[in-house]
Symmetry: C2
Amino acid sequence: MPVASAPSRRVADRAVDANHPIALLQSNSLPTLVQRELERMILAGDLAAGEQLREVEVAAMLGVSRGPVREAFRALEESGLVHLEKNRGVYVRQIGVHEADEIFELRALLDEFAGRRLAATATAEALAELRAIVAAMDAAASAGDVDAYLAANIGFHDRLVALAGNDKLLRVYRRLVNELHVFRRTSLARGDTLPASTREHHDILKRIAAGDPDGAGRAMRAHVDASRTRMHATWARAGGASPAGAPAAKRRRAAS
Amino acid sequence: MPVASAPSRRVADRAVDANHPIALLQSNSLPTLVQRELERMILAGDLAAGEQLREVEVAAMLGVSRGPVREAFRALEESGLVHLEKNRGVYVRQIGVHEADEIFELRALLDEFAGRRLAATATAEALAELRAIVAAMDAAASAGDVDAYLAANIGFHDRLVALAGNDKLLRVYRRLVNELHVFRRTSLARGDTLPASTREHHDILKRIAAGDPDGAGRAMRAHVDASRTRMHATWARAGGASPAGAPAAKRRRAAS
DNA sequence: TGTTTGCAGATTGTTGACAATCGACAACGC
DNA sequence: GCGTTGTCGATTGTCAACAATCTGCAAACA
């Protein structure tokens, strides 16, 4: 209960803050928290593509019973991050280069749309914000800090799409980016590709700031297509199709 | 076990058909079947937007225990068809006009892409298939059969997108269309809008068959934008924002 | 030696029981 | 009459137990 600070306000008008333990407990169930934690672990690379997640282990690790874990698995499967196979277990999904290509193709479309929209609607505040993110990326590239660069890169694109003002677009986009995250090789950007990537970001920002929808859309698409090309180069250099140790040949039956 | 029909084939080489009861049992769990049935009921309108789904009732209706129902609910929530609220229950989602607008905006983008792709790649078989669907739509429009028209309309767009050849696009598209389905008013197309809609389909097909990506893309976008405009007209005539009887005001807390 | 059979252990799938939460309604007090 | 408190029933959240499935390995057999 909040401490009384204004005698003129009735107790009933003073709701607790959303971060108050009471509110947190009322709005979060175990399956939701398990889902979030597993998603975090998958996106952070703590759980590898193809890795099996055993209910009993996950439940023990998180201190819950198997029920909430099973529920979380169902949600994670629907979001594309894991794959259930009846009677055989749950596996972190593996994304092959073909699927990555499809995601890039879609991303190019969505990023272009966002760029065009922003070129027409961006406020001074939005531009300042994007400039700050690009500056942080520049700093990371200069320092050769690939991890920091990637984090800022993801943040840049996410913010661009968020500023486009279509929430449904943002949700679809985030889901695609999460799936692409599972495609581990794409996250292994190398220091020698950062300069090109950085130039592309500047180009995008310049055209958005100039209020040039056609130019911004083209720059966004060119950037995503170039990222896709860089992905292929990295993939080829790493040896192409590698089953990554997953028991793919053993899993013949359909899911759940 | 399959009946021996060719003595030259070893028993181990004769897998059962995917529709054999053994294969069906091995590849389908109760939560998956529950999910499918509830999804079917929601899309068919058997479960109304805003309607509460009680675990015990659903379990009794489908003859299973609550566990698989709960798991199905998690998947359905992630797919956007229902909404869980901790300690209060599960509700078929309600889509407002703002969200419908966002979906239409996205659809226009995706449909345009599909149209452009098809104009460049469609085979004679694909064109024949699309022509057959458009002919079926014509017949339904002539007969004033709105339901048959809508079914064929959904089939036409789905097939168009499927033929574009990007599986990820198709999955995203289907998810959006399913969500739009929950927006009940859009399914209430009236007989007097069918002629315009029919002309638009013919225009799309003509440009795809002509191998005109720009024209096909424009025609697709124009068609989706016109559908959106018709949606608004229907919405306005029906009285605009109507909470559809859902206990919206009572549900203040966040989901699960 | 290669193949088949049987068994045990690991894991998943489902169910039912108990605990917890919430809303509605009746009873009580001012 | 209105506001507060208490109770009950409906429903959800979680857990543990049991059943079922699958895989790997050892033993038996040809």
